[in-house]
Symmetry: C2
Subunit: 336 residues, 2 copies
């Protein structure tokens, strides 16, 4: 695939944090920067120590600006920890690690939001200042908060995920504010654009990172009406999550942790599903759901893996687009 | 004086930032820690980068916790600057220097205020965590904001003082919110306490650091009614400010920058005035205003100077107290 050019291809990517950001980085190297729009989950956002923190947007910004810490996948590589040391001494909550440089980003965001800017505007300003080459938009400027119902009570996402280290048993998830939140306008415009080549659902947690985006009124419909193929990449490989607690959560929700379950979860929303080589045995079952299947390596260790997977996804979208157009043509001519 | 013991002496000190904090540190070494209450100017407080910053309280906290930067007089000695570097890159305002550890204090304060704590409570909590041995109270939990009218327009204090480096010509000063602000209750109780030995007006800027405190409805009256002598230490030595723009501001307000002008400014509010040795020629003029005078070194370079001046101030207060009591006794007996 490496010879393919995607210079004129255009994609919208739906992404959570670490896993999604890897594929987004790959897409940013494969597509022209003006041809990629990333819709970030903001269901994980929270107010903490007086700061407005957007963990998934930040992870995307750090990944795309080259500032990310390659060891952790979150935060910056060039951090110092004086803020955190002092916060601890002052009795502040210390379960969410905030590096000194990272805090400046949250403080600037908090300041601009207080001054009346929208989250989209703020995100654009911060991304521009950090030389992020592609457009990242929050799923909504309005607050949507992922709450996890657990056997330890209902927890805000970060408290469940970071403070409790995803330990409590998950009973359900809800997205507070999703009904009234307005979807990002540019994301809707991109989805409706006939020039769009692909809608990419990144290998993020379907229940905690992608569903919050789709829960915002209008997004599911806009994806359904997009002329471009919708491609999801499985975050589950060989029955385990590549990263994070996705498999654990699936088991707690009574679901078998397998790529097939993820494909079923997205259902008719997607046209194609990218399976890892290790899961090729599941290809037939996914096809029987009516989905096209692409099998390749989906575990992204270095930049080459990220770019390689991005190329696979875009090539897959082009193939499906051809099939869809051919079918549409046949339908138009009354054949097939 | 160094043989005097002030173990049972009790003082309220009115203080601004750097200059005041030096004498407060001295007082904290001379008095038992439970016998000193510091009323801090909060007219300089401001919201900046989403943080609630109290420059004078912070300077006092850092001075009394031993964390202060001895070079600058403000901020901490053990700082790093990742926050500031990043804030600058993000296009944030960079005229007010915020160290990484310092930011944690502001963030914790901002968080607690947002959670509904009063500024007094927040200050007590932060001071306790940083092992500050004496009680520092804000002049009020309600916002009072010092605005400086200048030839460049009306400026909030920090913008005048830090961003504009006190450059514009001062035409006047006003304390927005002072009429409706409620004075700190513990400060009022201490001032009314018959055990009080001294009210100390620290060598801070009379117009920009002490007047905001006295402008809060009730403070001037409470100082006037205190049975303890009220002692002011001149911030002007030899016609120049020991630190900061006090002398410049006095000239701009049409006042001669001299310790005598400061004594006149405080007028009948004070019983005694501490003049620097270099200003001994002014002693007679200050006495003619009806004030007792103490002459000593007031320029505090090291800890010894701070402790020395604190001893002078407390000994002076005890002397005046004796004179006041004798006069009262004579009045009672119909003599004198």
């Amino acid at each position: 695939m490496s010879g393919d050019s995607f210079a004129d291809s255009r994609a919208v990517a739906f992404s959570g944090g670490v896993g999604g950001a890897k594929l987004v980085l790959g897409l940013s190297r494969v597509l022209s920067s003006e041809n990629l729009l990333v819709v970030a989950n903001t269901g994980d956002d929270f107010e903490h120590v007086g700061l407005h923190i957007c963990p998934d947007i930040d992870t995307l910004i750090y990944a795309l600006s080259g500032l990310a810490n390659p060891e952790t996948g979150w935060g910056r590589g060039d951090e110092t920890w004086g803020f955190m040391d002092t916060l601890r001494r002052l009795g502040g909550e210390d379960w969410f690690l905030l590096g000194d440089r990272d805090v400046a980003l949250h403080a600037r965001r908090t300041e601009l939001l207080k001054a009346g800017w929208g989250l989209d505007e703020v995100t654009r300003e911060i991304a521009r200042r950090l030389d992020v080459p592609v457009r990242i938009v929050p799923m909504s400027d309005d607050p949507v908060r992922t709450h996890v119902r657990t056997d330890a009570g209902e927890l805000e996402f970060q408290r469940y995920f970071v403070r409790e280290k995803a330990g409590p048993r998950v009973l359900g998830v809800r997205f507070v504010g999703a009904e009234s939140a307005r979807p990002n306008g540019d994301a809707l415009a991109w989805l409706a654009d006939p020039r769009l080549s692909a809608v990419v659902i990144c290998p993020s947690n379907p229940y905690l990172s992608i569903d919050p985006i789709l829960s915002v009124a209008g997004f599911r419909e806009a994806v359904g009406e997009a002329r471009a193929p919708v491609i999801a990449v499985s975050p589950i490989v060989g029955g385990a999550a590549v990263k994070g607690p996705t498999a654990k959560i699936m088991r707690e929700l009574g679901l078998e942790p397998s790529a097939l379950t993820v494909a079923r979860h997205y259902g008719g929303l997607i046209d194609g599903f990218v399976l890892d080589e290790r899961d090729s045995a599941l290809a037939q079952a996914v096809r029987e759901l009516g989905r096209a299947v692409r099998i390749c390596n989906t575990v992204m260790r270095g930049v080459d893996d990220k770019v390689g997977l991005a190329r696979q996804v875009m090539a897959f979208a082009h193939e499906i687009r051809g099939l869809l157009d051919a079918r549409r043509e046949r339908t138009r001519r009354g054949v097939g």
